[in-house]
């Protein structure tokens, strides 16, 4: 009973916080609402029996990626008084947002409708770190490797983009 109530409360908080995050004009406030939403999401994972995922949600998304966002916002010197009032997006920018939301909702409904996908996962209430690790690195090893390769490509790409400029005279102009 208590768990069910907390579950729905966290769900509502996650939705509201995410909505506030995408409508704030002040980027720091948006980041804070997004972190809030990650917290609620982590609670949902925990209540669904996946404490490991809950911890990772907080460490990676709330703890690392959002901190990086904050760092960049501060490097851009956006002070509390410089933010403008009003919604972030103009009416033209709302169209792709709505399209994306509809597509996502459709995908989610399709996926939850497929029984085989939900039936194949690990038992819901036994997702201890050990079981989760076995499942991830035995059954889904290929998917994990592909995902990590993508990260490697991204890292190489970032390294290439961020390489120091060569001195101009050695290349003869251009």
């Amino acid at each position: 009973m208590m768990a069910t109530l907390t579950f729905y409360l966290a769900g509502v908080i996650a939705v509201i916080a995410t909505l506030l995050a995408i409508t704030r004009s002040n980027p720091v406030h948006a980041v804070i609402y997004l972190v809030n939403s990650f917290f609620a999401l982590a609670l949902l994972f925990y209540l669904l029996g996946a404490p490991l995922l809950a911890a990772w949600e907080l460490i990676i998304y709330a703890g690392a990626i959002m901190v990086l966002f904050l760092f960049i916002i501060m490097m851009l010197k956006l002070s509390p008084s410089s933010a403008e009032k009003g919604l972030m997006a103009t009416s033209g920018q709302w169209v792709p947002v709505v399209l994306l939301a509809v597509a996502l909702a459709g995908c989610t409904m399709l996926l939850t409708g497929l029984d085989s996908l939900t039936a194949r996962g690990i038992p819901r209430w036994h997702a201890t770190p050990r079981d989760f690790g076995y499942s991830l690195f035995k059954e889904y090893a290929l998917a994990v490797e592909i995902a990590s390769f993508q990260l490697l490509f991204a890292a190489v790409g970032a390294f290439y983009v961020g390489r120091p400029d060569e001195p101009k005279d050695s290349r003869g102009g251009a």
Binding site: V28, I32, G63, F71, S79, P80
Partner: protein, 330 residues
């Protein structure tokens, strides 16, 4: 029914005790630091309030509570008020997973000496430690002042430089203990502490917690001779007090983590478990103060270079070697 009531009462007593001990340890660490630093610099330190300055922490609290709570006109009010609380809260919450003694038998009940033995205790610590950065970052940004903002930027650049190395340095511990639960990790060190089994991981973690505690030689976010007081320049009264006490609670927490992960937790000969735990924690706290009295501050590009180019590759290599050794031993 009575059994459940006794259990509930024991848990409540445990909670109150943990809070009281951690908070009073933090308060007296402030005094200990001032005294020890003074001795290292050939001074006396605070010695007016009470015998030998023993009630100085109480006097400090009264002073902080009666000061004006000042909010700058251009500050982002909500976040400005929120930040100090975040800083102290994340520090206090971490103590929930730290086991400080072997399971106790009281009134026929088994009472584990940990507030909550999560099976992901170590990850819980890492999550909260990365969230602690928000108190610092938001405090400095919301103040809307140059010095505060500079302090925050330095704090965040510090956070992203050492955090990966810290996370990687505890991976060998998990590999050796085969569990994320801190109680299991302490149990696995009954024979020999992990600091002796894996000294590189111990050293990397030690350096990382110095950076995590934002103290010399990594006190860049404060840097009082360059940035006035860094991220908490604009704070006064008890809000400054929360940042301040948060730093010392953090010191206790990080010392406890080092004890649990690498120094064998409550294990030790002759004395009872809790006594060993306290001795180890206080010894590391002394090391924190000693280092502050001895080392100068790094520049922040030096810290970032050190974190990314030295600590992280070393930690990765250590994970690899530990894995190979464990595989070789079967």
């Amino acid at each position: 029914m009575t059994e459940q009531l006794i259990m509930l009462a024991l848990i409540l007593i445990k909670l109150v005790l943990v809070f009281a001990v951690v908070l009073s340890m933090a308060a007296y660490l402030v005094l200990a630091e001032r005294k020890l630093l003074a001795r290292m610099q050939l001074r006396y330190g605070p010695n007016r309030a009470g015998p030998g300055g023993m009630i100085q922490p109480l006097a400090d609290v009264i002073k902080l509570l009666t000061k004006e709570d000042f909010i700058p006109a251009t500050a982002d009010r909500g976040l400005f008020l929120l930040a100090p609380g975040l800083s102290a809260l994340t520090a206090l919450l971490t103590f929930a997973v730290i086991p400080f003694g072997p399971t106790l038998e009281l009134f026929g009940q088994k009472l584990p000496m940990v507030v909550c033995d999560l099976n992901i205790g170590l990850l819980y610590f890492l999550a909260l430690s990365s969230l602690a950065g928000y108190g610092l970052a938001l405090g400095g940004w919301a103040s809307n002042s140059k010095y505060s903002l500079l302090g925050s930027i330095r704090g965040l650049s510090q956070l992203i430089s050492y955090e990966l190395a810290m996370g990687l340095s505890v991976v060998p511990v998990v590999m050796m203990a085969k569990s994320f639960s801190l109680t299991d990790i302490v149990m696995a060190q009954a024979q020999i502490p992990f600091a002796l089994l894996n000294p590189p991981a111990f050293l990397i973690f030690l350096i990382s917690i110095f950076a995590e505690s934002k103290r010399t030689p990594f006190d860049l976010p404060e840097a009082e001779n360059e940035l006035v007081a860094g991220f908490h320049t604009e704070y006064s009264g008890m809000r400054f007090g929360l940042f301040f006490v948060g730093e010392y609670i953090n010191m206790v927490i990080l010392s406890s983590m080092l004890t649990v992960l690498f120094l064998g937790g409550w294990h030790g000969p002759w004395l009872p478990g809790i006594a060993w735990f306290m001795i180890k924690v206080l010894a590391i706290c002394f090391l924190f103060i000693w280092v502050r009295g001895s080392l100068p501050r790094l520049r922040y590009d030096q810290l970032m270079n050190f974190g990314w180019k030295v600590l992280m590759p070393l930690a990765l290599l250590n994970v690899l070697i530990t894995g190979a050794c464990l595989l070789g031993m079967g």
